[in-house]
């Protein structure tokens, strides 16, 4: 009975989350992205507080993943490279880039539960989370661009800017 109640409460919370995102986007348009981005930044900074600093992006990603796992956040990701890439880590003019695949994602599930579109404001929360966590762990600015939002997985480009 406890599990049934928890499941019902969780579904309600997810629908509520989807409704808030949908309503906020309707009311204030693209500014909704900034709100969820900042919420993600705060979360990323808070949860990664005390994590050892590193300049190595792969180690930083491992630490970020550990932070998510430790806190039971269903936002797990994995670095990915296509057949024509020599390495997972790519250097570009913008900075160091890594493609990430997100499979199980509580945001995507919430959006589907409510029937809301992907790539909206809630998806920006993950962008913010990475920006906050990597600011703590690497001391550098970063961005997380949604390349593709799929039904079963999302494909994103993480760019960590060079140190000034």
């Amino acid at each position: 009975m406890e599990t049934t109640n928890q499941r019902r409460a969780l579904q309600d919370a997810m629908v509520f989350l989807g409704a808030i995102a949908s309503g906020t986007e309707q009311a204030i348009g693209e500014s909704a992205n900034n709100i969820s981005y900042l919420a993600g930044v705060n979360l990323g900074k808070k949860l990664s507080d005390g994590v050892a600093r590193t300049d190595d992006i792969q180690q930083a990603l491992d630490s970020t993943r550990e932070v998510l796992e430790k806190n039971d956040y269903l936002w797990l990701f994995e670095p990915f490279k296509t057949h024509d890439q020599e390495s997972v880590v790519q250097e570009s003019e913008e900075g160091t880039q890594v493609m990430l695949v997100f499979r199980d994602c509580m945001i995507r599930q919430s959006l589907f539960r409510f029937g809301h579109i992907q790539k909206g404001s809630l998806c920006n929360m993950m962008y913010g989370f990475f920006a906050g966590a990597l600011q703590n762990i690497m001391g550098r600015e970063s961005s997380l661009e949604i390349v593709h939002a799929g039904e079963n997985a999302c494909y994103k480009k993480l760019t960590v800017r060079r140190a000034p």
């Binding site: 579904q11 799929g150 494909y155």
Partner: protein
């Protein structure tokens, strides 16, 4: 787990929607047959967008990680309970 993608030749109409939507360029058009074929299965991230968008339901995947509908899964519900 070794993901496999299959395009059912008799169903495929060669509309190229799968080619357009795939973020990692897994498919290509076979010009002779006018069919979409799998070129780089190893690049597939199993987003399943190709299977969802295909109008003739010609694309299928096997051995992939299906996302957990955690709100229906008792174990995940318990783990997520702390957010409630």
């Amino acid at each position: 787990m070794s993901l496999e993608i299959n395009v059912h030749e008799q169903s495929c109409r060669g509309c190229e929607l799968c080619i357009d939507i795939c973020p990692t360029k897994v498919f290509e058009l076979d010009e002779d047959k006018r069919l979409c074929v799998v070129k780089h299965a190893e690049d597939c991230i199993a987003c399943l967008s190709c299977a969802y968008i295909c109008p003739s339901n010609a694309i299928s995947h096997t051995d992939y990680h299906a996302v957990k509908n955690f709100y229906r899964d008792a174990e995940f519900c318990q783990r997520m309970g702390k957010f409630l």
